[in-house]
Amino acid sequence: MITRIRSMMVRAGIVLVGVFALVGVAGCKRPAQQATTLKASAAGTALVESSGGHQLGVTGTALKDPLVVQVNDDQGTAVPGALVEFHGPFGVTFDPAAMLTDTSGQATTAVTLGTIAGRYQLSAVTPGKSKAVTIEIVEMALGYQQRVGSILNEKHCSRCHDPESSAERVSNFNNLEVKPHAFAEGDTLNKMSDADLTAIIQHGGPALNRSALMPPYGSTLSASDVRALISYIRAVADPPYQSAGTVYARK
C-alpha cells in the first residue's frame, strides 16, 4: 500500500517537473522567437563593411556615424531582404541588433560602445546560402584621458601629423620637408617608449636628434596634457599598441 502511494507520488513528481520544464523552456524561448520574426526573403554569399568602421567613439556613448554593412551575392550585386545580425562584447548595444537589408542591400545600425576604453571587436553575421558569413568590424572607445588627448591633438598636433585635410582644416603635412608620423602609424610609434614620446613632445624634435620642425610644447602643455596625448596616441595605434607594462611570472 505504502509503496504504491510512494510510486504514485514519484510519478506525479516526474510529471510536475516535466510540466515546469516545458513551461520554463517555452518561457525562455519567447524573446528569442521575437528576435527572429524577421523573415529573410533572400540570402547573399558575402558581407562587406560599407561605412562606420574604425570610428573613435567615447566610452558608454553612441558612435557618431551608424555602422553600415552590405550583403552581396556571388556576382558582387547587393542583396536586399537578407538577414544581418550584429554582435559585440559585453556592454555593446546595437539598435537594431538584427535586421533585413534594405533595397540597396545594406543594413544600418547605431552602435553604443561599452564603458571600458579600448578596441572593440564587433561582428556582423548573415546566414548566407550554404553557410553563415561573418565579418569583423573594429571600433575604438576613448576613455576620459584619451579623449582629452584627442581634443589636444585636434588643437595642437593634427594639422601637421594628419595628412588628410577636412573642410574646416587644411593639412600642413605636405608643406613639411621632414614628414611627421601620423599617430596611427603603430609600426613606428609603438617602438617608442612613453619617456621618449614625452621628451619629444615637451622638448621638441631635437631632443631625440630629430627634426626641429617639431617644436617644444613643454611650456604650452601641462604634464597631464602630455600624458593624455600619449594615451591617445597609444589608443589609435595600428597595429595596436601592447603596453610593455610589468610582466609577472605565473606561479
Binding site: G60, A62, N175, S219, R250
Partner: protein, 685 residues
C-alpha cells in the same frame, strides 16, 4: 493529561529540569544569538566580493603587493564638505590599483585615469547611486524616495559640471549642453541660477516682432508657425504643434499688432530704385563673407556656412524685397541690437544683394496657404494664445508683456526626487531617462504641456541632459571655495563715437574685446599694442587675408576715411597691453648681423617655417599667419613679447611657448621686422 501538555512538560523537564540544564540551554541560546551578527557579516554580499577579489589576485605575479594593500572589512570615504559617504570601495577593490589595468571583470576593474584622486572626491559625486549602501541592488539600482539609481556612463560629465561652472576642455558634451541651454532659448522660460547666485543668461537673439508686418507676410508666418524646420532646418525655433485655427489666429494678431517702422519705407524706396548688377550677386555675397554667419543648404542638402545668423536657404520666401533692401542698407534701423554689421553698402550693392537673396526661394514652400481677412474674435484669440504659450518670453510683441517665471525653475533639476516625477508607462524609472524624454517628446507627457517640440538630435538631447543633471543640490551646498566660477560675458562697452562705430560694425559678433564678444575672429583686447597704424588703416579699408587656411574671414566694410581714421586711432590708443613694453626692443633699425642671426634662428633652431611663410618662394608653412609683410604689420615690441610667451598675450593660442631667451627673441624680432613685403605698407592684395 492531554498528550500535548504531557509532551510540553517532558520537554520542559528535559531542558530546564534542573539548574545545570537550564544554565546550559540559556548559554547555548545566548551563543547562537551572538553568532547571528558574525554570520550575517560572513554571508554579506560585500564579503563574497572581497573573497572573490582575494582569489582573483591569488594567482597573479603581483599578489604579494596586492594582498598587502588589501584591507578586509567595509571601506568608507567620508568627505563632509562634499556630502560624500561612500562605501563603494568595499567591493570595487581594484579602483586604485595601477597593476590591475588588465582586469576587465567588475567590480575589480581599475578606474580609468582622471584628473582627480578617488579618495579626495569619492564616487557618487560623479556616478550617482547610494554611497553608504553595501549591497549591489541598493547601491546601484535603488528607486526609493530620496534615493537615486546610478548614472548611466554617457552622462558622466554632469559630475564635472557640479564644481566646474566654467567650460572644461575635457568635457565637450557638458559644454555643448550648457551652450544649448543659452542658445536654444531654454533659459528664457526656465530660470537657472548658478550656485553663486548668478543667472544663466540667454545668448540667442530671437527677433523682435513689433514691426513684423514690414518684414514678411501673414502667410509666411502661418507656415512658419506650423513647422519652423520646414522653412529652415537649422532654426532653433521649436514647433508648438499648433492647429490650423491657432496658427491662423496667432498670425492674425502678430500682423494686426505690428507697427510700421518710421523712415524705413522712404529708405527702401531710394534703394530699390538702384539697378541690380545680377552677375555681381554671388561675388558680393562671397566678398562680404555672409557665409561666416549665415548658412545656406547646398544641392546635396548640406548646410554650408556659420550659425550666428539665420539660415538663408529660403530667404526669398520670407523677406519682402523692400524690407530686405532696407535691412541690408542698415540693419540697425529695424533692430538696434542685431548682430549683423552695418556694411555701408552702396545703393547698387544693396540692390544687387537684395536681388541675389530674393532668388533664394522655394516655389513649393507655403503653397496652399490661403488666409481670409481675420475677424476681431480671431485676433483676440491669437493674443490669448501668445500669452498662454509664452511667445513674449523670447520675442518682443506689441501689446503683450514679457512673462516672468513662465516655466519651472531648473536650478536644482539634477536632484529632482524620483517621487515627484510622473513617469510614462513603460519608461525607465530614472531622472536621466525622464529628462531626455521630456526634452525630445514633451507633448508625450500630456496634450496640455506647454513646452514645445525642439528639433534635437539624440546626441544634442544627451548633451542637454548632461548639463541639466549637473544642476544638483550638492553643487549648491558645497563650500564656495570648492567650485570653479563660470566665465561670464562682461558687458564691456567701448566709449564715445568710436564705440558707436564698433557697435555699428558689430565687431563683437566675431571679435572678443575685454571679455565680451564672439570667438570667430582674433581677440582684439591688445590690438593697439600689436599692430602698426598704417597697416590697420589699410586693413580696415581692404582686409587682406592673413591666414590663407581659414575659411571664415574679415568682411570688407565701406568705411569713410574719417570713420577709418577714428576707429584706427581708438584701437591704437585704447587697446594697449601693459605687458608689451616698447623699450624691450630698443633699437628699431637693427644691424644686419642681428637680422641675419634672427634669420638663422627662424630657419634652423626654431624651424618657424614649418608653420609660417617668411619667404613666398621657399617656405610653405600653412598654419600661422603669413609673415612676408609682418615688419609692416606688427610692432617690434609685440613680436618680442609674443615670442617670449604667446599664451600670455592671447590665452589659448596654438603657437607653442618655446621658452626663448631674451637674446633669441630680440634677434628673431629684428629679422621679422625686416620683412616689409613688396607692396606699400604691406597692403598687397
Amino acid at each position: 493529561m492531554h498528550p500535548i501538555r504531557r509532551y510540553l512538560s517532558s520537554a520542559w523537564q528535559a531542558l530546564f529540569g534542573d539548574a545545570v540544564r537550564a544554565f546550559g540551554v540559556v548559554s547555548a541560546v545566548l551563543l547562537l544569538a551572538l553568532a547571528i551578527a558574525p554570520a550575517k557579516n560572513q554571508f554579506a554580499q560585500w564579503h563574497q566580493y572581497q573573497r572573490r577579489y582575494l582569489s582573483l589576485i591569488h594567482d597573479r605575479g603581483d599578489a604579494v603587493t596586492l594582498r598587502r594593500r588589501f584591507q578586509p572589512g567595509i571601506h568608507q570615504t567620508w568627505l563632509p564638505e562634499l556630502g560624500v559617504v561612500d562605501r563603494c570601495t568595499t567591493c570595487h577593490l581594484g579602483l586604485n590599483e595601477a597593476g590591475l589595468g588588465d582586469v576587465s571583470q567588475q567590480p575589480f576593474r581599475k578606474h580609468p585615469a582622471i584628473p582627480h584622486s578617488l579618495d579626495g572626491f569619492g564616487c557618487v559625486i560623479c556616478h550617482g547611486g547610494q554611497g553608504p549602501a553595501t549591497t549591489v541592488a541598493e547601491a546601484h539600482h535603488s528607486e526609493r524616495a530620496g534615493e537615486e539609481p546610478i548614472l548611466p556612463a554617457r552622462y558622466i560629465e554632469s559630475g564635472c559640471g557640479q564644481c566646474h561652472q566654467n567650460a572644461l576642455p575635457g568635457t565637450p558634451q557638458l559644454n555643448l549642453g550648457r551652450a544649448m541651454l543659452t542658445r536654444y532659448g531654454c533659459v528664457r522660460c526656465h530660470a537657472i541660477t548658478r550656485p553663486d547666485g548668478t543667472r544663466v543668461m540667454a545668448t540667442d537673439h530671437p527677433p523682435s516682432l513689433v514691426h513684423i508686418a514690414d518684414k514678411t507676410t501673414r502667410e509666411w508666418i502661418y507656415s512658419w508657425l506650423k513647422d519652423p524646420q520646414a522653412y529652415a532646418e537649422s532654426t532653433t525655433m521649436p514647433n508648438y504643434k499648433l492647429s490650423d485655427a491657432d496658427a491662423r489666429d496667432l498670425s492674425a494678431y502678430l500682423m494686426s499688432s505690428s507697427t510700421p517702422r518710421e523712415g524705413d519705407t522712404a529708405l527702401a524706396a531710394t534703394k530699390a530704385g538702384s539697378s541690380a548688377d545680377l552677375a555681381a550677386g554671388p561675388s558680393l555675397y562671397g566678398q562680404s563673407f555672409c557665409a561666416s554667419c549665415h548658412a545656406v543648404q547646398n544641392a546635396a542638402g548640406n548646410l554650408v556656412g556659420g550659425d550666428v545668423g539665420p539660415e538663408l536657404t529660403r530667404i526669398g520666401n520670407k523677406a519682402k524685397p523692400e524690407w530686405l533692401a532696407a535691412w541690408l542698407a542698415n540693419p540697425r534701423v529695424y533692430d538696434a541690437t542685431t548682430l549683423m554689421p552695418h556694411y555701408r553698402f552702396t545703393a547698387q550693392q544693396v540692390a544687387t544683394l537684395t536681388t541675389f537673396l530674393q532668388a533664394k526661394s522655394d516655389s513649393d514652400y507655403g503653397t496652399g496657404v490661403h488666409l481670409d481677412a481675420p475677424i476681431p474674435a480671431q485676433v483676440a484669440h491669437g493674443k490669448r494664445l501668445i500669452v498662454e504659450l509664452g511667445c513674449a518670453a523670447c520675442h518682443e510683441i506689441n501689446g503683450v508683456q514679457k512673462p516672468e517665471n513662465f516655466a519651472p525653475d531648473l536650478s536644482t533639476i539634477g536632484s529632482k526626487p524620483l517621487a515627484q516625477i510622473v513617469f510614462l508607462p513603460g519608461m525607465e524609472v530614472s531622472l536621466p531617462s525622464y529628462i531626455v524624454a521630456k526634452i525630445r517628446q514633451p507633448r508625450a507627457f500630456g496634450a496640455s504641456v506647454k513646452m514645445p517640440q525642439f528639433a534635437l538630435t539624440a546626441p544634442q538631447a544627451d548633451a542637454l541632459t548632461t548639463a541639466l543633471l549637473s544642476l544638483t543640490n550638492r553643487s549648491r551646498s558645497m563650500p564656495d571655495t570648492l567650485r570653479v566660477a563660470a566665465t561670464v560675458e562682461t558687458n564691456y562697452q567701448p566709449a564715445g563715437h568710436a564705440g558707436k562705430l564698433i557697435n555699428e560694425l558689430a565687431c563683437f559678433s566675431c571679435h572678443r574685446i575685454n571679455g565680451r564678444g564672439g570667438d570667430m575672429a582674433p581677440d582684439l583686447t591688445w590690438e593697439g599694442s600689436s599692430v602698426q597704424r598704417q597697416w590697420l588703416i589699410d586693413f580696415l579699408r581692404n582686409p587682406n587675408t592673413l591666414r590663407p587656411s581659414l575659411i571664415r574671414r574679415m568682411p570688407r566694410f565701406n568705411l569713410s576715411d574719417s570713420e577709418n581714421k577714428e576707429l584706427t586711432e581708438y584701437i591704437l590708443a585704447v587697446y594697449q597691453s601693459p605687458a608689451v613694453d616698447a623699450d624691450a626692443v630698443p633699437d628699431p633699425s637693427h644691424s644686419p648681423d642681428v637680422v641675419e642671426h634672427g634669420k638663422q634662428l627662424f630657419y634652423s633652431k626654431y624651424a618657424c617655417q614649418s608653420c609660417h611663410i617668411a619667404n613666398d618662394k621657399t617656405d610653405k608653412g600653412y598654419i600661422g599667419p603669413t609673415l612676408t609683410q609682418v615688419g609692416s604689420r606688427l610692432t617690434a615690441a609685440w613680436i618680442y613679447s609674443w615670442l617670449k610667451n604667446p599664451q600670455a598675450l592671447r590665452p589659448g593660442t596654438t603657437e607653442p611657448n618655446q621658452n626663448m631667451s631674451d637674446e633669441d627673441a630680440r634677434a628673431l624680432a629684428a629679422f621679422l621686422m625686416s620683412l616689409k613685403g613688396q607692396g606699400a605698407h604691406g597692403a598687397k592684395l
